[in-house]
Amino acid sequence: MNGPAINEEFLQQLETLQTIVKNNVAGLFGGNHQSKTFGSSCEFADYRDYIAGDDITKIDWNAYARFEKLYLKLYLDERQLHTRIYIDASRSMGYGKGGKDIQAIRTAAALTYLSINEMDKVSVYVIHGDKIEELFTGLLGKDAYFAAIDKFNGIVFDGDCRISDAILPSTVGYGDGLSIIISDFLTDNNFEDAIDYLAGKKRDILCVQILSAEELNPTARGKMHFFDSEATSKYYRKNINKDILAAYKAAVEYSTGRVRDFCHSREADYMLVPANESLYKVFFDKLVGEGVLK
């Protein structure tokens, strides 16, 4: 695998990045992300008339001296986000030497650290079939991160993955942060409903599509009989020649384009990550370039 693995040096580099939040932050706890609601941060926002019962410590006495009327100073609120990461743990992600599983875990771990660094809560879920399994929830603080990171190694990539069926029944929060779906999206199963659902919950959405180098540029030639790792009943049998390779390239373009276009139509972010690409490039080039991070 190219590029740096997750190590202390890379994590320190990650600390220079910051998540760009698009939706209004509606977290329960104070945090590091500015909210559009008024709160108790140092950031002045506006004045309003004093109403009995208001905190008198926030009355602007300078304004009272000038206008002889009580005005209350309003400040912007800063909230804590809850980043929820969904990892596709189907067999297609982990089969063979493609390295999609490793890339998915590394990406998830890096994103987790990024959120932790911003004093956000992070929950990581693993999707098996139509079920969501919690890897850990509400993780907060670097100590907790380093204590929980080993859990990533416990993810078993097996079975299939039905993203919408898994996410729709789950608790996804409302307007309180970023939802990240990491998958290869190589399925006819519905994923659009999940994105619609998350968008409806006012969550920022990032879809990370991970494809192996072999899937992007297949090297197989001649008469091949491919079996699907998730279901051997699915197979593909052909003499792979130039025509078929051209059609395959078109299929890759179509498949990635379909996910990308749908995400963009829902104002969700999308990023194609080759399994052999370095994390540094993924985070510092692509995510920054896409405007997900800054």
């Binding site: 290869d184 399925t187 072999e214 197989a220 491919f226 079996f227 699907d228």
Partner: protein, 631 residues
Amino acid sequence: MSFLYPLGFLALLGIPVLIIIYIIKNRYTEQVISSTYLWTLSNKFLKRRTPISMIAGIVSLILQIIIVIAVALAIAHPVFTVKNSANDFCFILDGSGSMNITYNDKTRLESGKEEIRKIINGTLKGSTYTILYADSDSPELVGTTSDKEQAFKYLDEIEPAYGNVSDTAALKIAQEYFTETPSVKIYYVTDVDYEHVENVEIINVAKNEQNFAVSDVKTATSGKKLTVSADVISYSGNAELSLGLYIDGSEALAATATVQVKAGEKTSFAFQPVADASEYKELKVSILNDDGLAMDSSVIVYSVNAVNEHRVLIVSDPHENGSEPAFFLTKMFDAINTVKLNYTIVGSEEYSLENYDNYELYVYDGYTPAELPSHGATWFINPTANAPATNFTYQGKMPSGTNARLEWTTDTSSSINPLFKEIDRGNPDEIYVETYVKCGITRDFDIILTHQKNPVLFTGTNAYGNRETVFAFDMNATVGVLTGDFLTLIRNLINYSFPSVLDETSFICGDILDINVLAGCDSITVTSPSGNIKSLDTDASVASYTITEVGVYKIVVKDVTGNSEEYSVFSALPEEERATSVTAQSFELTGEAKDGYRDGTYDDILYLFILIAVIAMADWVVYCYEQYQLR
């Protein structure tokens, strides 16, 4: 259709073997991949396949199966029976000398053999072939066979003959064959066209030949320029001929000419004059076009002057009347153009035999030497005293003012006749001399002019055997030197004194080549163009040789001292033999031809091998295309 080796179809077992190999070799490689989603999705983007492309995967197998079938068929060796396609064939091959004429690097005989091979190849099995070779007046049977290969061997056995064969013999044997088997198809392969043909097919192998000839090469000089002209003729058809002129054996063209000639018509032409070539030794005029009969495409002309060039010493003093030494004589020498005389004049005071040796002719004009040269001819003009070894005596000068009219001899002996060549002996010019020297003759001399029976001009030999001529008068004191006959006589006397080895250098094949045997000649050998060497008899005064070949003959004359001279003459093809295409009256076989066709068989399997090769190539192309598709 039948098969020679039906067991060959066992090779068809190769087809199931091939299919099994194909199945085994072309098994799909099974592989589990993370997801077939993208591959399956790619079907949507695959171009619609044509019906041909749907069998593209097995095209190679189909081609290989066809190859196996073709191989099995080739081993089984199919034999097709074709109705009424076989017959008896008789080929009579002309073996006359003209069949050895070469055209396009091939003799007519070889062309005839090829024609026969073509006919035999075009026949089917079941035919018989009889080959006769008419190389003499009794044509020989080369062989009869029903096997094509054997027939070809018979043809290969035929060697060129150079006989002078008439077609009567061929006609006779063809008639015998035809009478015996009226159904036989007779071919007469020859180089003659016949106006009437019956029951025989004439194959004229000379039909398409081009044939040109050059003849009558003439030369003319103007100053140092040489103009060469000649006649050309085309025996085959109208043509544009390119001609080249080569001088003195050089391979570089001295001049070229292009001449339009009509068939059968002689056309004269001349090359542009060539500078500095008047004293050529030999020249060659050649037709540069391809020619079926190359023998008459070139003519070589050797200069007679170059052969007849002589060194002459004239011992003479200025005349008492003040004229230059030997004035009249030298003028006459200059006027004679049949020989070239390089003469040197010395005064009697200066002359000595030791200092002036090695000349071919010594002329003593008004002077008598004390000693005669032992070699070379001698002329005495107006002798003044006796001289040793001359075989004549000086008896004193006749009184001045005699004004004698000299009498021409009436002797017609063979030795004196050459001296009167081109002189009208019936009415010769009259010759008067003021005075003359009376001479006594001690040996046989040929007397040409006399006065009152006194020999005044006579020829013979001296004591050394060399030719001697005596003019017993002063040339400055006679009007005779101004007559044409006297000049002709001087020329004949020069020829007598220098008996040239060759009088001509251009001959026609069949001519007699006369070679003059000179005094002291030891041997004469003649080498023909083909390399045959013949020694001629040198006892007679003239050695004769019959020219039988076309080309350059080399003549080597060796004298008793061991010195030798080489001469060349050119022999051209006789005009009547220059035409390569001859038309004869008829070649007719009497009798009624019968239909002797029978069923023939065709068992050539070359087409199967070609089919196999083509399909194998196509299979290779398909393989290459598949490999290209997989790149």
